[in-house]
């Protein structure tokens, strides 16, 4: 599938194992954004001329695409800056309650929960709480928690779908969250756009106030009755269109993605075992995310040395300090795979890991 991603034309030796940080972009998305800027661009909403009407139509068409992708209604889908903003908006609206969140959370959900909940319980096993905030896929362990259980244990459920959506299509009605967030750049789309599904959009407040969100502004202010009240200011118009194209890409390759993920998880686990390399953190993974902690070699050193061989991995705490603390390790290095990876990439990763192991531990 490398041929669909132009970066490999310039950088043939690249083994990109950092898709949990951001996926590479397919040609269809890159070209589509350029096309949009070249031939369809104008500011949206309130433009009475045809070009603005056209851009508005495309923007709203993208909203319909996202809604279809999630199995929800378009007026429940808000476009924001990224998943972090989306999660902050969700948690802020539920502030002052008692919450539970998983120890696996990314800081983008953990930190707002810590700031805004009256009391916060943190753990591995889902516990009953007014607000349960949980990832649908750990960015370190590759584990997918049981969403139905999360629903059962919560009055309000916030789900961070950021890692999940690049591997599986989520069907929200099956676990009925109150809020569901993901970002564009982790599902083959552009950065600068995030999605927040809001079950009851009329009930909650936006984080930002400004143009585009209001109906009457005078002594009193009335807000738009629809999802637009969450989208103050000029939105990331071209990025929203790019996200639509990214979802088209995902849906077109959905089965290949699933098959490739499954095959590569197995293959990676098998090769690590064959070469007697340390097992990745966590027991079994549902998405192809492999994190490692080697007592003898620092994760930054592994990542730098792999980088010299054109293998892109990430090192550090991956914005999941509570998880690393719970595991009793300072940091880790992570290989995360996607549609453009194959067995050859895994082999090169394993080969270089062995070189590093032999260089440091002897």
């Amino acid at each position: 599938m490398k041929h669909l991603f132009p970066i490999f034309e310039r950088y043939k030796e690249l083994v990109y194992l950092d898709s949990a940080a951001s996926t590479l972009k397919p040609k269809s998305v890159i070209d589509g954004i350029a096309q949009f800027y070249s031939y369809h661009y104008a500011n949206i909403h309130r433009g009475a001329y045809p070009l603005s009407e056209e851009a508005t139509e495309m923007y709203e068409k993208a909203r319909e695409s996202v809604a279809r992708f999630l199995g929800v209604k378009p007026d429940q889908v808000a476009f924001l800056k990224n998943a972090t903003e989306a999660l902050n908006l969700a948690v802020y609206n539920l502030r002052g309650r008692e919450g539970w969140t998983s120890v696996m959370e990314h800081h983008s959900l953990y930190v707002p929960m810590k700031k805004y909940m009256k009391k916060l319980a943190v753990g591995w096993k889902i516990e009953k709480a007014a607000v349960v905030a949980i990832t649908q896929g750990s960015n370190v362990l590759g584990k997918v928690p049981d969403m139905k259980e999360a629903r059962e244990q919560s009055q309000y459920l916030i789900v961070d779908g950021t890692q999940y959506v690049q591997h599986f299509r989520p069907y929200l009605p099956s676990f009925d969250p109150d809020f569901y967030a993901f970002s564009g750049h982790k599902i083959f789309g552009p950065s600068g756009v995030g999605v927040l599904y809001i079950k009851e959009p009329e009930r909650w407040e936006p984080l930002l106030y400004g143009g585009g969100t209001v109906e009457y502004v005078g002594e009193t202010i009335t807000f738009k009755p629809n999802i637009q009240k969450y989208e103050a200011g000029t939105p990331p118009i071209a990025q929203v269109w790019g996200l639509k194209l990214a979802l088209d890409f995902f849906l077109q390759h959905e089965e290949e993605i699933k098959e490739n993920d499954k095959r590569l998880i197995k293959y990676m686990e098998k090769r690590l075992e064959e070469e007697k390399l340390p097992a990745p953190l966590g027991d079994k993974r549902d998405i192809p995310v492999f994190s490692f902690y080697w007592e003898e070699v620092h994760p930054h050193d592994v990542a730098t040395l792999l980088g010299r061989k054109h293998i892109a991995v990430r090192s550090g705490h991956h914005c999941a300090q509570p998880l690393h603390r719970a595991l009793g390790i300072p940091a880790s290095f992570r290989a995360s795979l996607s549609l453009y990876n194959d067995e050859k990439d895994v082999d090169r990763f394993i080969k270089e890991l062995k070189v590093i192991r032999d260089g440091f531990i002897r």
């Binding site: 620092h298 050193d301 730098t304 705490h317 440091f360």
Partner: protein, 124 residues
Amino acid sequence: MDLYDEHYLAIYKNPYNYGKMEDADVKGGALKPSCGDQVEIYLKVKDGKIEKARFIGKGCVVSIVGTSLLMKEIEGKSIEEVKKWGPEKMYEITGMDLSSNPSREQCLMLGYRVLQDIFKKLSH
């Protein structure tokens, strides 16, 4: 020299001036939460002179080698002299080339920063 040169790897595996000092006159430590690197430095000081410098820590090649060579360098020198050193001194002491990994400069400076904190403590 390249940061993964054999010379540095040898120091990393068996660092100079490594070990805890129970009777230190002053000590200081730092944790870099972003990568979990941890360094603790101990000094024995007499008449303004650093008689003995030791450290313990866990970290990457750059931070451990940097701190190790820094400890080796400051032993026998006066605090007044060492205080004048700017961060660029770390490049001089180690001879490390980080031009292709500029983000690792903060690792190189870990021990240096701890030493600056110790000097602040001493002057109070």
